[in-house]
């Protein structure tokens, strides 16, 4: 959200609190675009982007009295957005196959056909095999088991700095391999 956008949205929000429906419609449409872009940048063009957009707009509607015009608009909006997005990610991860063992590819593509998803899974499994043992251990724990850097460091006996360096190198290996298969184009 640029400063100009924030200024415009702030004015629309203030008008909406007074009951201006035209301003409110413009506000929701503008925020809908911001939410969609935000979610897509973080988790990709998933099938549940629309769910998140609608959840956020509903939450904003219910919480509109909590924004005080003496406070900036963006922190308030992004706090609601991040909270809803975390809820959505947790909800959709519960229905995805996160508990699969590492030799089955973790889900990276939510929205494609089952065939495309199977291909993506197989490609990622192959990519993971390119990693060194240390890189694989670290990335499995960070990304699949959603452990924090400090927890991974504690479990593996490495320093946190070392964990970060190994993860960074592992991600570079994955990116290069997957780019060679046409991902990210």
């Amino acid at each position: 959200m640029t400063p100009e956008q924030e200024h415009e949205l702030t004015l629309l929000m203030a008008a909406s609190q007074h009951g201006d429906r035209t301003a409110y419609e413009a506000l929701l449409q503008g925020l809908g675009h911001v939410v969609r872009l935000y979610v897509c940048r973080r988790v990709g063009a998933t099938a549940w982007v629309d769910d998140v957009v609608q959840d956020v707009l509903l939450s904003l509607h219910r919480a509109r009295q909590t924004w005080n015009p003496e406070r900036p608009f963006a922190p308030w909006f992004y706090a609601v957005l991040q909270s809803r997005m975390i809820d959505a990610i947790r909800r959709h991860r519960r229905t995805a196959t996160w508990e699969e063992p590492m030799d089955v590819v973790p889900p990276v593509v939510w929205s494609q056909s089952p065939e495309a998803e199977a291909i993506a899974r197989a490609d990622l499994a192959q990519a993971m095999r390119q990693l060194s043992p240390a890189q694989r251990v670290v990335i499995e724990r960070l990304r699949l088991m959603e452990m924090s850097v400090s927890d991974v460091a504690r479990e593996t006996g490495m320093s946190e700095a070392n964990v970060k360096v190994i993860a960074h190198r592992g991600y570079a290996v994955l990116r290069k391999f997957l780019a060679g298969l046409g991902y990210g184009n």
Binding site: Q17, R62, W76
Partner: protein, 222 residues
């Protein structure tokens, strides 16, 4: 349902709302209401007979100071957390725990010399103090629950726990003004004990209670 349809429905549903005052203003209002209601409840129950002398004792002053700090800091934290995007610093969250911990440590410190000298006895049941904690803290707690409920906390568990601590601390403050017993064991069990139980229950069940409360409010809200 398409997003456009959701937007159309929300626009049709739009009613004017008054923005909530900033958290420091809400905190001030809660404090005024709590002092008024707490004082009235203490007056109804009856002050301790030795209050005129007890208020000059260091232990009494320490208990009051810790409980005031716990009540104010936890209410401040709850009200700040109820507003999305409101800056909540680390000390916002730490201050209530520090105040509560300091009170418990002080009480334990009063107990240690007695225990070392073999002078402690198991205190008589103090259910009256438990009842007074709830009686004095209930209305401030309800007021704070309504104020927090009008917000939109993302960290619901922390918000509810801080609100519960604020109410319990107000209750314990009132008990200090009404209970003449000064024995450290009695204070630990029957003054501090209810506070700890209330905070624990809030931490365990507060999220579910808030969800039920929020669902009811959503049904009522324009």
């Amino acid at each position: 349902m398409a997003t456009k349809d959701v937007i159309d429905a929300l626009v049709r549903d739009l009613r004017p709302v008054s923005p909530l005052p900033l958290p420091p203003v809400r905190l001030w209002r809660w404090l005024m209401a709590s002092v008024a209601v707490g004082a009235a409840t203490v007056a109804m129950i009856g002050r301790r007979g030795d209050l005129a002398t007890a208020m000059f004792s260091q232990p009494f002053q320490a208990h009051i100071a810790f409980l005031v700090l716990a009540a104010v800091s936890s209410a401040a934290a709850a009200l700040a957390l109820a507003i999305p995007g409101e800056p909540v610093r680390g000390w916002h969250r730490a201050a209530p725990a520090v105040a509560l911990g300091a009170w418990l440590a002080w009480l334990a410190g009063e107990l240690m010399p007695l225990a070392a000298a073999g002078g402690t006895t198991w205190p008589a049941a103090g259910w009256g103090c438990v009842a007074k904690t709830f009686a004095i803290g209930a209305t401030p707690g309800l007021i704070l629950a309504i104020m927090v409920g009008r917000g939109a906390p993302s960290d619901v568990r922390a918000t509810v726990t801080f609100a519960a601590l604020a109410a319990a601390a107000v209750g314990a403050l009132g008990v200090e003004l009404t209970c003449p017993l000064n024995g450290p064991m009695h204070l630990l069990l029957w003054h501090a004990g209810p506070v700890m139980v209330i905070v624990l229950l809030a931490a365990l069940f507060g999220r579910a209670a808030y969800a039920a409360f929020a669902a009811r409010q959503a049904g009522r809200r324009p």
